[in-house]
């Protein structure tokens, strides 16, 4: 069984994004970049499927600038077998990303796509669902537990107010939520081994997908800042203030 894991290079989740003064976007120059945390969880899950003997090959794919190759290497160091970089120096919208991934999934003959539920830059939470639609595969999003056997996946999903268990036929698209697993750190020997693993470089044109943005970004601004209020001395003063000043109790 072949697992395809798309990964995205994004601003490190510990770094605060700064808006450019000309309101054209977020400043990514000289900012620490890492693999999107939800993608790490997806890679971990795919590698565990391979370790359990369920999967035979884990293929990592990323769409982004040349540096996204580092993100793919990280995934290969975690246990991915080989990588595909679809190089693009401009932002690719979720719809076009889904179309590119659909082309890759077909070309590779993937049996399952395991990917993060959202990237922490655009915060769209859309690509997995769109990919599943375009491929006409079932989807199981926001997964906190995945069991694959007999051509089916039984997925426990994080839903509003609790958990839902869904059974989907393979091939399928599964998107990872936070609690699916705790991603491993790559060991030094595995990092060295990953350097020798194959990464194929492609362009968006290779897949015949139109990546011209549909949405026009008019501006990117900073949200209104919330200013710090006052410090209270003790709990009694806090309750008084909440009752009389804020009027919320």
């Amino acid at each position: 069984m072949k697992v395809l894991v798309p990964v995205k290079r994004v601003i490190d989740y510990n770094v605060k994004a700064r808006v450019k003064p000309d309101q054209s976007g977020v400043d990514l120059a000289n900012v620490k970049m890492s693999m999107n945390p939800f993608c790490e969880i997806a890679v971990e899950e795919a590698v565990r499927l391979k370790e359990k003997g369920v999967a035979t090959e884990v293929v990592i794919v990323s769409i982004g600038p040349a540096q996204a190759q580092e993100t793919i290497r990280t995934a290969l160091a975690m246990g991915g077998d080989r990588g595909i970089l679809i190089q693009s120096d401009t932002d690719v919208e979720p719809l076009a990303v889904a179309k590119l991934l659909a082309a890759v999934a077909k070309e590779e003959g993937a049996d399952v796509v395991v990917m993060g539920k959202q990237a922490i830059d655009g915060d769209n939470n859309a690509v997995g669902q769109m990919l599943s639609t375009l491929l006409d595969w079932p989807q199981a999003t926001f997964a906190s537990k995945v069991e694959i056997a007999g051509g089916k996946a039984v997925v426990t999903r994080e839903v509003d107010g609790g958990l839902q268990v869904l059974e989907v036929d393979l091939p399928a698209v599964i998107t990872a939520d936070l609690r699916l697993n705790e991603p491993r750190y790559a060991s030094l020997p595995n990092i060295m081994k990953a350097k020798k693993k194959e990464i194929a470089t492609k362009t968006t044109a290779d897949y015949g997908v139109d990546v011209v943005p549909r949405l026009k970004v008019l501006k990117v601004t900073e949200p209104a800042k919330r200013s710090a209020g006052i410090k209270v001395e003790n709990a009694a003063e806090l309750v008084t203030k909440l009752k009389t000043e804020a009027g919320v109790l």
């Binding site: 994004a17 919208e93 922490i120 599943s132 509003d160 268990v165 939520d177 909440l242």
Partner: protein
């Protein structure tokens, strides 16, 4: 141009996230219909008909849509979408599950988590965990938007829109197996007027229950948690407030033992009044708190309970 709002419901009750999404829809068009997807959801459809400004309610019933199966919901919406210029969905876990599918089927670029309607084709949405706001314009024939409910006021009730029935689609490759809903007498996190949240400082699940829950119950509040507390296993995942969890905007948010990581602030900074209790005077949470109490929660929370009477 008409707009279709997809109702948020559990087959029995209509959630007020729907009313809030109707408000966003009315900013786009005066012709707003509400689609109720469910099974045995007549009461939900009737409730949707009462929302002010709604032209008509479409009730599509079926077992799969009643279980929230995305493929069935998507096919049902796509079947109706031809009559609309925009489809608006509350940005809940359920809504996010199917809205992008609908967009892909309509070859539209979905716009997630809309917090402001600038005009019929221009919307504001948060990116980077709310550290930046993006204003985007779309030329898609049918726009597909998810709407962040906390950013809009709920539409009132007083209408009496007619209810039309139609059959819902089913899903061929996905099957519902079971669900396990958290049963609680507390208000729902995203709808609560007061939220009491605990952080990693609690140190254990027992301590979290002992400290946070009684205070929440005293205030009639919902319970929240930081990602650090959830990751450490002190609180269940659906308590999580933040970029990767739930976004809340209650009248009063009380953060206890929460340092205020960027990702947590993204989920609660639109609360009306924020209270922070933390023993570290330099904790970032104090930069957004209206009232800060620098104290060990172990002493402060019992005092707070006493002061509340």
């Amino acid at each position: 141009m008409a707009v279709l709002v997809v109702a948020d419901n559990d087959n029995a009750q209509l959630r007020d996230t729907t009313h809030k999404t109707v408000t966003a829809a009315l900013a786009i068009s005066g012709d707003v219909d509400v689609l109720v997807l469910g099974q045995g959801a007549d009461a939900v459809a009737a409730a949707a008909g009462k929302i002010d400004g709604v032209r008509k309610v479409i009730l599509a019933e079926g077992a799969d849509v009643g279980h929230g199966i995305a493929e069935a919901i998507c096919d049902t919406i796509v079947g109706l979408a031809g009559g609309y210029d925009a489809v608006l969905v509350p940005a809940t876990s359920a809504g996010k599950n199917f809205a992008p599918r609908v967009a892909a089927r309509l070859d539209a670029s979905p716009i997630s988590d809309v917090i402001e309607v600038v005009s019929a084709d221009t919307f504001v949405r948060p990116i980077y965990a709310g550290n930046a706001l993006e204003t985007v314009q779309t030329a898609d024939k049918t726009k597909v938007l998810t709407v962040r409910p906390t950013a809009f006021k709920a539409a009132g009730e007083g209408g009496s829109a007619p209810v039309e029935k139609t059959a819902a689609a089913s899903a061929a490759k996905s099957r519902f197996q079971s669900e396990e809903m958290v049963k609680s007498d507390r208000p729902e996190l995203t709808a609560a007027k007061i939220v009491v949240s605990g952080g990693r400082a609690m140190g254990s699940a027992e301590e979290f229950q002992k400290v946070i829950e009684p205070l929440a119950d005293k205030l009639g509040a919902a319970v929240g948690a930081s990602r650090a507390a959830v990751d450490a296993g002190y609180a269940p995942n659906d308590y999580q407030v933040g970029q990767t969890g739930k976004v809340v905007a209650p009248a009063l948010y009380i953060a206890i033992g929460i340092s205020g990581a960027i990702q947590h602030l993204a989920g609660m900074k639109d609360s009306k009044v924020i209270v922070a209790i933390n023993k570290d005077a330099d904790a970032p949470i104090f930069q957004v708190a209206d009232y800060g109490l620098v104290a060990d929660y172990k002493a402060a929370v019992p005092e707070l309970m006493a002061a509340l009477g």
